[in-house]
Symmetry: C2
Subunit: 302 residues, 2 copies
């Protein structure tokens, strides 16, 4: 079975306290699919410009990632520059050049429509996320991510998407921006009173992540031994791990989502150990499984 992921493909300029890299390949659907390819065949819906290397497509294909929906358009690839003052804080955006993304209309290729039950809408313009949602049948399990920029600028469109998804992954700061509540307690109340979202995954960086449902709350630790170099892509890798885990279970219930979060947490712990996709690109299934097993032990206390 496979997972469809709709998101950005990008060139990133990244500066962290550990160093600086220019024009490295990134983007939400790249991190997601590199994380998801160990337990699924991710199918990318995205766009790049003519300046993007075709070789990279081949590298993705070798990993079982389908790039039929990764369009090449006239123009330049989306690019983003960010600086992390401290490694645990959100980055300061230096520039965002939408380029070919500006007129991107995500279309799911017919070949993608078979044998998939999961769709992940990575962080892009909620208008585009809604376009994808319009084209999906209601039987899919749909996950979604977003960011402060869209929360502040396209709230109505975001609300429309929230009406139609099953699982939202979001960081603590963004959650506060959506709900305008200072306490987590009130924020959760707000979300579950207002939207039919069943599972809310709150990402807390090095503090791990929370899974909230209408009547439960659970905490997943993050891998405590990771050597943090560059946090970029951690959230998308986490989601890629989580959804590829769900791709192999029979029901999307709380227990499986929690196990999937541990698996996602294990993969994300590798992502942050290098700039860009370096580490996650060269990862083995065994390395991931070892951290997954250790994290399960760390998490099991009673």
């Amino acid at each position: 079975m496979s997972i469809i992921v709709v998101g950005s493909t990008a060139f990133d300029d990244i500066e962290t306290p550990k160093g600086k890299r220019d024009r490295i390949i990134g983007g939400s659907c790249i991190y997601f699919s590199l994380a998801a390819c160990f337990r699924s065949n991710p199918r990318i819906v995205s766009v790049v410009g003519k300046d993007f290397s075709k070789n990279f497509f081949k590298e993705l294909n070798k990993k079982g990632i389908d790039t039929s929906g990764l369009l090449v358009k006239d123009g330049k690839t989306f690019s983003w520059g960010g600086k992390y003052k401290s490694i645990s804080e959100d980055p300061e955006t230096k520039f965002t050049n939408l380029n070919v993304f500006e007129n991107f209309l995500p279309i799911i290729p017919t070949s993608y429509k078979l044998k998939n039950k999961i769709v992940f809408l990575a962080n892009i313009d909620p208008d585009l996320q809604n376009k994808v949602l319009d084209s999906l049948d209601s039987k899919k399990f749909i996950g979604m991510d977003t960011m402060n920029f869209w929360i502040n600028s396209k709230r109505k469109s975001l609300d429309r998407a929230f009406e139609r998804i099953n699982l939202l992954t979001i960081n603590e700061l963004e959650l506060g921006l959506i709900t305008k509540k200072k306490s987590l307690e009130k924020s959760l109340e707000y979300i579950f009173n207002r939207y039919p979202i069943k599972f809310l995954v709150v990402k807390k960086g090095s503090s791990g992540s929370l899974l909230a449902t209408r009547n439960s709350l659970n905490w997943i630790p993050c891998y405590p031994f990771a050597k943090m170099i560059d946090p970029t892509g951690a959230g998308d890798s986490f989601a890629g791990g989580l959804f590829s885990f769900l791709n192999n279970v029979n029901s999307f219930d709380k227990k499986n989502i929690l196990l999937g979060m541990i698996y996602g947490s294990a993969i994300a712990s590798f992502t942050i150990e290098s700039f860009g996709t370096n580490k996650i690109f060269n990862l083995s299934k065994k390395e991931i499984d070892n951290r997954y097993k250790l994290l399960k032990k760390i998490a099991k206390i009673i």
Copy 2:
């Protein structure tokens, strides 16, 4: 059964992003015993000056806290001033006036020597911690805390104490100072190779806490809904909760220590919700038990 706690009693000047308080009662053994009094009769070994209110002694006694070892000496009470720039960071010390603490010799009253199996050496000069250790029989379960000041200035004395304790509570930054290792993995290796400490509790602030033993690692979440006002005393309250929990179990094994850490985490989540001891002073057993139960649910994922 009761617990002996050796530590400081203080007047604190505290500034956090949420406000400022001058000359409020604090000190490690005060926070510890206020947290521990719900499940034990804490016995304080400490010292104050003539400027300290006798009424406060009576308030402690009403809560089942024994103050026979809380000496009143000529002079002023130990005082400390600290400023938290952000609520998740360690405070900047504005001043430390040792006052009567300068010539303090901790002596455990004969009346304390009966019916106790647990001793906690809160953060004070390791020379004093060693003096207490010299006077104890080997059957006690001994916990200990320390801080960067002593790690940098009295390392040899600290090493001598580490040789003789069962459980060390320490924050992540202090652990790095002791081991001079950058990674948690190497730090744990260092501690367990060098000292006979059986249980190492690494406090990670709002990220929860870790319990490390020679061959295991577990992560305890912190209460995610706490409204942070002033972090002062969180670590000592956490320890008070943990050790008072242990006071009521038959064996000091990993499982009980993990449950005790959850209990300690529940109490510490109240401590940080007011300046000084305000909240913890007026707490009910039921409030604590509710958060303890909720935290157990949050922590139980598999």
